[in-house]
């Protein structure tokens, strides 16, 4: 019995299905129950949150959490499916401090909101950037210009008017 099935035994209501992510156990979790399932996984010994991945599947979003257990040397992946219109899921920052930046990055690039995150702002792109680049409907041809304002904040504009360009 792999870790995903074990998790299903503990929380039959939260786990929709179990399967394999190539060769690693994976459980699909109801999005409302993610925090509970992740907490259970942490209790089971999965103490290392390796990565949070957000994927845009055009009709829905997937957020995948990869865990590792230092004590058992086992892998576990949790997956939640989110609506495309309202990509919101609970934040794991209360359980893993390392989730902070990973969630901010996912928010920044994929545009998934993490409810309960203490500081959910853009991390790689400047504040005020238009759109989330890793979404499939992101317009690659749109230009955005970034300058630094008087107080050190980034200012983004769709045209180059705020650039100091020599004639």
């Amino acid at each position: 019995m792999n870790a995903a099935e074990e998790l299903k035994n503990f929380l039959p209501g939260s786990v929709i299905s179990t399967g394999l992510q190539l060769n690693k156990p994976m459980a699909v979790i109801k999005k409302e129950e993610l925090l509970k399932a992740a907490g259970k996984a942490k209790e089971m010994g999965f103490d290392h949150l390796s990565v949070i991945t957000g994927i845009d599947y055009k009709d829905h979003f997937e957020v995948i959490y990869n865990f590792f257990s230092y004590s058992k040397k086992q892998n576990l992946a949790l997956k939640v499916n989110l609506d495309h219109d309202k990509p919101e899921v609970d934040s794991l920052t209360s359980l893993w401090k390392g989730a902070d930046w990973l969630e901010r990055e996912t928010f920044d690039l994929v545009g998934i909101k993490f409810i309960g995150h203490p500081n959910l702002i853009r991390i790689l792109l400047p504040d005020g950037w238009n759109g989330h680049p890793l979404r499939k409907d992101y317009d690659m041809n749109s230009e955005q210009f970034v300058t630094v304002g008087e107080n050190g904040d980034d200012i983004v504009s769709p045209d180059g008017t705020n650039l100091l360009r020599r004639k």
Binding site: L22, N23, T53, Y70, K97, G98, A99, L125
Partner: protein, 382 residues
């Protein structure tokens, strides 16, 4: 006693932020009250590029993530693709891959230690480190024609076989390196001022380190006996004899010593690889289901399929890069390009802990603690 707060912008152009990292520091005199890293100045959208390039075309871009140690980046992506497509790799190719990666680990740690010492004000170590790094870079140049951005490891093997004259030079390097590490240890390890600067600075216990998602030498400095090469072995690491270097103190000094020890272990691994190097072809071609083109000129020793399509699926594969756990989450939809590439870069995750690590310390300690975390901004910003 409190004085007025001073807000200092450290970076993005600053001698010791290793590139374009910026710290917003709220200072009380010399003490740091709050430290906020601001990243993204080197963001090149590598993950988006990955969605637009074929699998082979994306490999050069992985070189540019952690440009100090590019072989593990190549390998991490290629490993994910190989797992996805189920490609068998010739044994000699695996040996060459491990050889390059361990060599690169030495290079990375030399740069890490050197720049740490330079940030502390002792400029000698970085020059000595670069002296040895230069020898290693020449080996890389001999092997694949590039010194930092290799594009050498390909799905199914490596780009070219080891050239003539490589092995003697490598042996010379290994012999040389052993003596040099003794020099480094004499220069730094016992230095009382270095102890003053490093011991009990930036302490993080094992539980917090795991909670922050720390990996690599930084985590092992906190006493977690964890190395993917050992506990989730890939490539030929199960056949090799090496030990995981762990220190229990969890301070900057422990993280430094772990790096020195890892260099020695890497030398040990390299010697085994050199001794046991098998003879076989270095790239598999039939596995793709494409027959090699007949009449292909032979100057480049092997044939690469230009385009190949792994079956639809997703994989998260990770390796122990010099800086920590480097993972690639690759989703394939059965076309020639990946549907999604997510990079779990060790620098990014290790940097998460900096604000709580340096709280209440002096500005000089920020440099020391930050130096021992060893980030490369190409890897942080991607």
């Amino acid at each position: 006693m409190e004085s007025d707060e001073l807000i200092i912008n450290m970076g993005p152009v600053h001698p010791s932020t290793h590139g374009v990292l910026r710290f917003k520091l709220r200072m009380d005199g010399e003490s740091i009250k709050e430290c906020t890293p601001v990243i993204g100045y080197l963001h090149r959208g590598t993950e988006k590029i990955g969605e637009m390039k074929t699998y082979l075309q994306f490999i050069p871009y992985t070189d540019r993530l952690d440009y100090i140690s590019a072989f593990p980046n190549n390998y991490a992506f290629v490993k994910a693709v190989e797992e996805l497509a189920g490609i068998e790799v010739p044994i000699r190719a695996e040996y060459i891959r491990v050889l390059t990666m361990e060599l690169n680990r030495i290079v990375n740690h030399l740069v890490a230690i050197g720049s740490l010492l330079m940030d502390l004000g002792a400029a000698t170590m970085i020059m000595w480190g670069f002296r040895e790094r230069e020898n290693a870079l020449q080996l890389f140049e001999m092997l694949c024609g590039a010194r930092m951005t290799f594009n050498y490891i390909k799905p199914g093997g490596v780009r070219e076989d080891i050239p003539e004259g490589f092995m003697p030079k490598l042996n010379e390097f290994l012999k040389d390196m052993e003596k040099r590490i003794v020099d480094y240890e004499q220069l730094i390890n016992g230095n009382e001022i270095f102890h003053m600067r490093m011991k009990n600075i930036g302490v993080i216990n094992a539980k917090d380190a795991v909670n922050f998602g720390w990996t690599g030498p930084t985590l092992r400095g906190s006493g977690v006996d964890y190395d993917l090469r050992k506990y989730e072995p890939y490539s030929i690491y199960p056949d090799l004899d090496f030990k995981v270097c762990v220190r229990n103190e969890g301070d900057s000094f422990a993280r430094f010593i772990v790096r020195i020890d890892e260099m020695k272990e890497s030398l040990h691994i390299l010697r085994q690889v050199v001794d046991n190097m098998p003879v076989s072809k270095v790239i598999s071609s039939a596995e793709y289901g494409i027959a090699p083109m007949t009449g292909t000129p032979t100057a480049v020793s092997t044939y690469f399929p230009r385009i190949f399509t792994p079956p639809a699926g997703e994989v998260y594969s990770r390796i122990e890069a010099p800086k920590g756990e480097l993972g690639f989450y690759v989703v394939s939809d059965g076309t020639t390009k990946p549907y999604r590439v997510k990079i779990r870069s060790p620098s990014f995750c290790n940097l998460t802990a900096i604000p709580s690590l340096v709280k209440g310390l002096k500005i000089g300690d920020l440099i020391a603690a930050f130096g021992t975390i060893d980030v490369v901004l190409g890897d942080v910003d991607r």
